[in-house]
């Protein structure tokens, strides 16, 4: 094709200019690839982290004290009086889930639910020597709980089953164990808000990677906590649920709330701030990438305009020799597309190299986040998108100058 031959010559005749235009696209696409790989990597890391600490659905008994009924009403009920109690104190409530075994049986038969873990959570003081640290314990059936959160992979010392093999064992968060300077086999005394206390032997240490959990939480057998709190064997406060498909959690949570009338949080609602920041990161990625590509597009637009200005005589002579307006558009638009395509291709390579390099950079050590390297993901779809973007931008940028070139009146130029 003679049009492409001419386009090629124009590009080759001005290698430096061609390269500069290409580099504009290259950096645009490279930054797009780097940013989206990193941002999506962060998003995925955040999602994984929160799923490792948040169940798909969490059912619990939220504190809601009914102030509308007062004993004063009962006392004065015979009198023809309007009774108003100002600023009543809350009455004592049990935060447990009533009819727990019935609900649990029900949940275990639900085909959309893969695992159910009932537990009893309470605040405690950890006492070791003179040190007292505030935290809380989850009394669990450790087999169920470790299936939901994959505790096995998060144990730094010991195994979840060790809890079953020890009388009054405790699995502690790493941060908590470090603060108390506790190791395997050490005894720690727990004191409840009600004042009861009991000693437990450390059998394992876990690290989920979220400071607020690792610094405060421990696992004990459900029966031990019931015993510590002086409650019967059916007393539980929370149920964690793992679903077959966690995307269905919000609707399922609503359904469970209606059915049992206990507060049901799905993981997305419980982590709405994390979900929101994911969206912010996504938007940021696209805004920055589009800005970079727009800048690259303007670069191409400028260079095409300059090229066309320099080639006015050539355009006139080509038209005189029988090249049509379409030919002229093709000649210049194909230059623009060539710049875009190869610029984008180089950008993909550069973007991959930068992303790879970033994925090997150690993440600064942090007590709250367990992350060895910067989280980067490599998704072919991003690269495809980058290539499409890298061709569409120069096409748009090159279209106007090319059309203008095709409209040049050769007579004006040939007559001088």
């Amino acid at each position: 094709m003679v049009d492409t031959l001419i386009a090629k010559r124009h590009l080759m005749a001005n290698k430096k200019q061609t390269l500069v235009a290409m580099l504009g696209v290259t950096f645009g696409i490279a930054m797009f690839i780097l940013m989206i790989s990193f941002m999506i990597g962060v998003n995925q890391f955040m999602e994984n982290t929160m799923l490792s600490s948040t169940p798909d659905i969490h059912i619990y008994n939220d504190i809601k004290t009914d102030y509308s009924v007062s004993i004063a009403g009962d006392y004065f009920k015979d009198k023809n009086l309007l009774v108003s109690v100002r600023h009543p104190k809350p009455k004592q409530v049990n935060l447990n889930i009533k009819n727990a075994s019935g609900i649990l049986n029900n949940l275990r038969q639900d085909p959309t639910i893969t695992r159910v873990s009932p537990f009893l959570s309470t605040q405690v003081f950890y006492n070791y020597g003179p040190v007292q640290i505030n935290g809380y314990i989850n009394g669990v059936n450790i087999i169920d709980e470790s299936k939901i959160f994959d505790l096995r992979s998060k144990m730094t010392i010991g195994q979840p089953e060790d809890l079953l093999n020890t009388d009054k064992g405790i699995i502690m968060g790493r941060g908590l164990a470090n603060k108390l300077n506790l190791g395997i086999g050490d005894m720690v005394t727990l004191t409840t808000p009600a004042g009861t206390s009991m000693s437990f032997r450390v059998v394992g240490i876990f690290a989920i990677g979220i400071g607020t959990i690792d610094d405060t939480r421990s696992y004990i057998n459900l029966a031990n906590v019931q015993q510590l709190m002086g409650k019967d064997r059916s007393y539980i406060t929370d149920i964690n649920i793992k679903l077959v498909d966690n995307k269905l959690a919000p609707s399922k949570a609503g359904e469970l709330y209606k059915k049992y009338n206990y507060k049901s949080d799905d993981w997305q609602t419980a982590n709405s701030s994390v979900m929101a920041s994911n969206i912010v990161r996504d938007v940021l990625t696209y805004v920055v990438s589009i800005t970079l590509l727009t800048v690259a597009g303007f670069g191409i637009y400028n260079i095409m305009n300059m090229t066309i200005k320099n080639k006015m005589k050539d355009i006139a002579i080509l038209k005189a020799q029988g090249f049509s307006g379409h030919d002229i558009v093709r000649i210049f638009l194909s230059q623009s597309l060539f710049i875009g395509f190869f610029g984008a291709l180089m950008g993909e390579v550069l973007g991959f190299l930068l992303s790879y390099a970033l994925s090997r950079v150690p993440f600064p050590h942090n007590d709250f986040i367990s992350l060895k390297y910067f989280p980067v993901i490599f998704n072919p779809a991003h690269y495809l998108f980058g290539l499409v973007f890298g061709v569409v931008t120069p096409f748009i940028a090159g279209l106007m100058p090319s059309i203008r070139a095709s409209r040049i009146d050769p007579v004006v130029i040939l007559r001088g």
Binding site: V2, H10, M12, D314, Q321, G322, V411, R415
Partner: protein
């Protein structure tokens, strides 16, 4: 003798900067194989006429026929194709494409026409260059040649598609007398031996004197001679 070019009542106006009647009631015809210089003072409209005939300028009233085909009112794309096939151009400023070699410059219009294979076109281009004694420069970049050499390459390029008519705008305007003589001889040869019609705008009266016929223009009209 058959008619190569016929012009009927052509009128042209310039609208900018002010209304101006450049060409009025131009009618004439040129036969095949005729070598016809168009002369006249600056501003008499001879170049304007040439660009109308070349189909590059379509803003006029009247009718223009080339090879008995009415070109007035054709679309730009059709005109481009027609120029490619039937009209060769030679300009005052040689207008070769600087990024291409001499040979490629000559080949481009034929590559655009696309009737022959690349190899055949190359052979033809070499042949045309040989006719103009420029074949030795075939693989040089066109920007390395002297003015006279470039003009000869431009003529070879005008010939590549075997046009019926060659239109030239001051082809010798930038050349010394030796090169002017060479170009003049080439044109005469082409007209008389190959039967190509040649219409050339020129200031050069020597050039005009020995031609078959001269069209002289003044104030937008053809002078009767």
């Amino acid at each position: 003798m058959s008619v190569a070019l016929k012009v009927e009542n052509v009128n042209k106006y310039f609208h900018e900067p002010e209304e101006f009647h450049v060409l009025s009631d131009i009618s004439f015809s040129v036969n095949k194989g005729e070598f016809v210089p168009v002369i006249g003072k600056s501003g008499c409209g001879k170049s304007t006429l040439l660009y109308l005939l070349s189909t590059l300028d379509t803003d006029y009233k009247g009718k223009i026929f080339i090879n008995d085909q009415l070109l007035t009112g054709e679309s730009q794309n059709n005109l481009a194709r027609f120029r490619n096939e039937n009209i060769g151009f030679v300009f005052q400023f040689h207008f070769l494409l600087p990024e291409f070699t001499v040979l490629e410059n000559v080949m481009l219009p034929a590559l655009k026409l696309g009737k022959l294979s690349r190899k055949e076109i190359e052979e033809q281009a070499i042949d045309k260059l040989r006719q103009l004694q420029m074949d030795a420069f075939a693989h040089k970049l066109s920007s390395r040649l002297s003015g006279g050499q470039q003009q000869r390459v431009a003529i070879a390029r005008a010939l590549i598609n075997d046009p019926t008519i060659i239109m030239a705008d001051e082809p010798t305007g930038n050349l010394d007398s030796i090169n002017t003589g060479i170009v003049f001889d080439i044109f005469k040869n082409l007209a008389h031996e190959k039967g190509i019609t040649i219409l050339t705008v020129t200031h050069d009266l020597d050039f005009a004197k020995s031609a078959d016929r001269v069209i002289e223009m003044a104030d937008g009209r053809i002078k009767d001679s």
